[in-house]
Symmetry: C2
Subunit: 347 residues, 2 copies
């Protein structure tokens, strides 16, 4: 695959991981896991690892913070972990993004490997070298581009994943089709979820992402297309993170974001009404509906102002230009946003 | 000069800075300064800047922390600073290292320029792309390699620098001669401080450092030589940072470190006694003596265990092999360290 580091996909890849670690003479091996991946996935991995330490963190996006990083850095210092050590991030997007950031910054950077355990992390977060954490109300506000030594994607880990998490990850897969693969989208629509072969689904999604990333590692142009659904999606996710009530998973927020941003594409004449309905029906079939009251719109729009793609206080989003193509750096006004939210709310 | 970004040196360089900023169409310009550089240096710079915001931080190494970064990141978020903004770091090593780190991590990296105001920062910290902060008791424990857009070195800023700070920066200049320029060292020794022409001193130091860095940006081999004096020096600096009493400036700690590490070079037969005395007399002539009681040795040695060059719990330092050459990855034992400290203490 077209990436600056190897991505291994399959249920029998851990002997390869064992070999790679043995070849490198790391001074220490640290495994970062959350309580779920420690319980469900670590037992499958442990026999392939040399002597190591496990650092546990709490699961969930609300722990993807500087304060979690500080605790890990303090532990690494206490363990006298040096620059020739390796961190293995065993988990979903939170563990991978945060663990990658921890590794990239500790002593100016130590080696890390990604072992994603959710569909989201397998298809999206583990490809492309973005690492980072949330800060204040903004998603991934602090971070960098830092390449793992390798990514090991073991689809059988998905058997341990709750259905809701699986579907959440499926949002990024849908996104890859919508922005870059018209024919794939047509085929996908004809299949029920049970008919989808997971390993090839992952391979296809990773391939699309890797191809886009390879053309534009630092996100100056085409890589921005991967943000489709995320301008509004991230803001919705951040907004609900601030509450103890209803949780909105990343993929669920992106699903809403894709419906809204498709509607804005339609508003601007970039999508036909038929295409809009096609997209929104498919997403509505697979994702739960979240009620987003009118009085929250201005708060959510404020959060969109923190989006990393913005310039000069303008919100620049990614819109669809037909299915399978995008237009980047498109201005999203408050009016565009409100109209699209109203469309989403009308079930 | 052999660097991946331009370094301008001279008293009339700010029109160049003005031109470069104008050429880039930054969405916002932020100046990071401490109370001293805001008072003494900012007035010389301000007329060359477009509309900008100043973010002030407290002066001093003890503020080179994650908590200072957090405050700055919060302010940047509040000001809706976007990815096409520029941060200008106006100050010594603390402002430059911390400001560079803040910029490198904010929204996965925004542009920054270094305008060093101390001899230390001009000759050393602003060259080579290292940015970072202290963490717990360890110097520069968190950081990365990140390149500024450009470095602007204006020697007249040194007129505002207290003598003690000037001398502190001079330690890094001495270091450059000791590790890489035997003839320069011979010449330097014959001059009194008043006879030294500052601008050419800076040019020479920057040149030596840039040449070394260009060969080994990521510090895998030859760049480690720049750590001469720092294995022990950093630990002494960190140790005294923990107290409210006597302050030891970075360069003063490095000066002690250079005497001690020269002594260890002598212990290992890499330096003659004559060379050792030559080095230690010159340094003792220019730097104040700090009394370091025997009971602190084991604490300081513990801090050396956090050094980024270490591997497998061994302290790996840089020793001199005659004046003008180095040996890297040399093991420093507790006995080596104690003997060298005793040598330093015997005035």
């Amino acid at each position: 695959m077209n990436t600056p580091y190897p991505i291994y996909i399959g249920n029998d890849i851990f002997p390869q991981l064992e070999k790679e670690i043995a070849a490198e003479n790391y001074t220490q091996v640290i495994v970062l896991a959350d309580e779920n991946t420690y319980r469900d996935c670590y037992p499958f991995l442990v026999s392939y690892l040399p002597k190591h330490q496990v650092i546990p963190i709490l699961a969930g996006e609300k722990h993807k913070t500087l304060s979690t990083c500080e605790k890990i850095w303090a532990l690494l210092s206490e363990l006298a972990v040096d620059r020739k050590a390796l961190i293995i991030n065993l988990g979903g997007g939170v563990v991978g993004d945060l663990g990658g950031f921890v590794a990239a910054v500790y002593k100016r950077g130590i080696a890390f490997m990604q072992v994603p355990t959710t569909l989201l992390a397998m298809c999206d977060a583990s490809v492309g070298g973005k690492v980072g954490i949330d800060f204040l109300a903004a998603k991934n506000q602090l971070g960098l581009f830092s390449m793992p030594k390798a990514v090991y994607i073991c689809p059988k880990f998905l058997n341990t994943l709750p259905q809701r998490e699986w579907i959440s990850g499926f949002a990024e897969v849908i996104k890859h089709y919508l922005i870059a693969d018209y024919l794939g989208w047509k085929k996908l629509k004809t299949l029920s979820l049970n008919e989808i072969e997971v390993e090839s689904l992952i391979r296809h999604a990773v391939n699309i992402k890797a191809t886009i990333v390879a053309q534009d590692m630092n996100e100056q142009h085409i890589r921005k297309s991967l943000n489709f659904g995320h301008t509004i999606g991230h803001a919705i996710e951040s907004y609900f993170l601030g509450f103890d009530g209803e949780k909105v998973l990343h993929g669920e927020a992106v699903a809403i974001g894709m419906i809204c941003e498709s509607h804005i594409s339609f508003q601007k004449g970039l999508l036909t009404e038929k295409e809009l309905i096609e997209i929104s029906s498919y997403i509505r079939t697979h994702f739960r509906h979240h009620s987003i009251p009118f009085f929250t719109y201005s708060h959510i729009f404020d959060l969109m102002l923190q989006d990393k793609k913005n310039q000069n206080y303008l919100i620049l989003g990614v819109l669809l230009k037909g299915i399978g193509q995008v237009k980047i750096n498109e201005i999203i006004s408050f009016e565009n946003f409100v109209e699209s939210m109203n469309y989403y709310q009308k079930k």
